[in-house]
Assembly symmetry: C2
Homo-oligomer: 433 residues x 2
């Protein structure tokens, strides 16, 4: 834990730095696996699943039997919790639906914009130490609401070749159409290129480690879109003296348990609070099962004291946190002034956990400062807009001259001709020629 008091603006750029992600060595592996999957399909996916996940599969698709078995294995309590989360996530994402935009920009020139679902999407759900069924909800629910026709989910199998039952259960109730037992680079490559079993998709969503992230970025070279480049998860808390140190400590610890590369930042205008939060962290840490991971993550944690709230806001906008908790009397300054953040949590009773699981907001969010340009996943992430226009004979006469003048100035006379040939015809018809 680093405590930094009143850092001057010229060291901010140092303070907002995340650990460097170097993909150069990974890139070679990624390219190799893409090439192999392009030619060998399923066989290559199976080979790398054996190599990386240590399990020999014969079939990549989860079967109906496995799905109904999973249904038996998930407790009624967990099912109820998942269903509650599902309802809230649905409500919030349904609320994001918009009507088509349609206007007449000039008499006879009607322009409109419609959103259409991306027809085939791929959802990546990491395996590893935590079975992230919550990520299934966050990706499959908006995909289904958007109207995506094919929803492919890839997640790595465990050593016995199975997928965690809660992941299967969540996938099933959220309308996933194909569940594939495959993770890592090979899963991303298979969804980008298509194999005998794994459908080629148009956009890939979901978090993952550096291998998955590098593979997603490489997939864009094949015309596959991605939700965003993902990095280690982050939380920045702003707290003043009205904040509750034990709540804030619990939030920072919850972020730290994600992984040893998790980013944990506290910004406060109260030095006393800073000390209280640090000692609360030390106290609470002892009882947590992922203590070892948390301790490693906390080595990179930053506790920053800034005298002025406006400086704090400026710093936070420079940092552009994935998660941003505000525990302060003057919360409005921050909710109104925040420009760059993935998701914002306001007030003492709004832990990040709420948004991670069940409040309704999406937990797939831009890390690594990418909230400066990327949105978190939302309903629109599964839609694309198409513009339309319809011009009447009167309309083309109203607008035609301007088009012709501009086309000529750009040196494109066939563009001009496409307008003038129409206008001439209309005028000839009017003259009875």
């Amino acid at each position: 834990m680093k405590i930094i008091e009143n850092p001057s603006q010229n060291i901010w750029s140092e303070l907002i730095k995340r650990p460097l992600q170097n993909y150069e060595t990974i890139e070679t592996t990624v390219k190799l696996i893409f090439k192999e999957i392009a030619t060998k399909g399923d066989a290559a996916v199976l080979k790398y699943t054996n190599l990386f996940d240590g399990v020999k599969l014969t079939d990549l698709k989860a079967t109906k039997e496995e799905i109904s078995e999973a249904d038996q294995l998930v407790s009624a309590e967990l099912k109820a919790a998942i269903q509650l989360a599902k309802r809230n996530i649905e409500s919030f994402h349904i609320a994001q639906k918009t009507d088509p935009v349609a206007i007449e920009t000039m008499p006879g020139v009607r322009c409109w914009l419609e959103k259409k679902p991306i027809q085939k999407v791929g959802l990546y759900v990491p395996g590893g130490s935590a079975p992230l069924f919550s990520t299934v909800l966050m990706l499959a629910i908006p995909a289904q609401l958007a109207g995506c026709k094919e929803i492919v989910l890839c997640t790595p199998p465990d050593k016995t070749g199975k997928i965690n039952p809660a992941i299967l259960y969540a996938a099933q109730i959220c309308g996933v159409t194909t569940i594939i037992k495959s993770g890592g680079i090979q899963a991303i490559a298979a969804m980008a290129l298509g194999t005998e079993t794994i459908p080629k998709v148009y956009k890939i969503f979901g978090p993952g480690n550096q291998f998955v992230t590098c593979a997603k970025q490489f997939a864009t070279q094949f015309g596959t879109a991605i939700d965003m480049p993902a990095g280690p998860s982050e939380l920045l808390v702003f707290a003043d003296k009205t904040a509750n140190a034990s709540f804030v400590a619990a939030d920072l610890l919850s972020q730290a348990e994600h992984g040893k590369d998790s980013q944990v930042v506290l910004v406060t205008t109260d030095q006393l609070f800073l000390n209280k939060a640090v000692s609360e962290i030390t106290k609470q840490l002892e009882n947590l099962s992922r203590k070892a991971i948390i301790k490693e993550a906390l080595q990179n944690a930053r506790f920053i004291y800034l005298e002025k709230e406006t400086d704090a806001l400026d710093f936070i906008n420079e940092y552009a946190p994935e998660h941003f908790i505000i525990c302060a009397r003057n919360a409005a300054l921050f909710t109104e002034g925040i420009q760059n953040a993935g998701s914002v949590f306001v007030g003492n009773y709004t832990p990040e956990s709420a948004g991670d699981y069940a409040s309704g907001t999406n937990h797939t969010l831009p890390t690594n400062g990418f909230s400066k340009s990327y949105s978190g996943v939302n309903l629109d992430s599964f839609l694309k807009t198409i513009s339309f226009q319809q011009i009447t004979a009167a309309g083309i006469q109203n607008i035609g001259e301007s088009i012709a003048v501009m086309a000529e100035a750009e040196g494109l006379d066939a563009h001009k001709n496409a307008v003038s040939i129409r206008i001439k015809t209309i005028q000839n018809e009017a003259n009875g020629d």
Copy 2:
């Protein structure tokens, strides 16, 4: 020109293929230039401007004098046309503004979504044979409407070190904050990394040749977002016997004049019409100034006859055209059924030229089949969404149990603790402890 009659579905994948873009050789150059600009800044930009554009500049920024000189050089007629286009583009993009989404997903759990402008954006406007001031309008107008603070425009200078006056004029009236005389890989690298003169931006927009496209894709590795990967421009026209062959020919020719790699496709349910369109093209071609380019482009043109309209629609959705013109009695089948297209033009009096310049829709659109997952540029392209939530003491008690159950099932007990510590405190306070 290839004429294909009733192609069976199993050769569609061949028919929708665009010319392969191979970036492997370009990539080495791109990486080299990025590395050099990262260390040498402006000096490297100037060096490559000399090397690629053949002009030795001393200053990269367009001066106030140059801008006011440009204002003198643009004709009143062209200014009026640009102003009309600007008004229409503004109207259509203003209409795309949305209200924040806010709901209470459960009692005491309030979630909302707000859009915020991307603070620093970079607009790329190609040089070359046509001075694309229309692209300035299409990018700078929505950027300004979105509220982007820094709007940087890069465009290559001519051999005398100047920027086309119409580009400067358009940039000036659309609120561009910095105009840089630089194009190609070096311009993209400079906007992604920042130099002494060229501000680092968060998202880069705009069309370009294969060097620019490859550089934009590489820029994403540095956390810079891009609008979309761009390829050669395309038009697909669907026409039945009610269409006007000379209008359709003019549209196809206008597409072909963009460049020799332009994609031109006609799909029709009327064989007679197909023949008429082909002979109209041959006739009109003779009088066009960019005849040589058009002839080359037409070598790859495809004229496809399909008996059934529904097959035509399926084929068009597979092709996913950038521009899609519908000249058919049964236009509704296509406007309702189209899933994948950049921009759609409906009816005999709606040439692509209208959307290219002045009707109000944006002309920066996904090519190469990318409309399967990408939107064309619109107001949202310059905004990002941030989700917010605020939970009351009652709210956390309503939702807390579900969060705790899910966190525990994912093996994340610090996440659970962040909720239970709050609920315990609330209950203790209620009990007067």
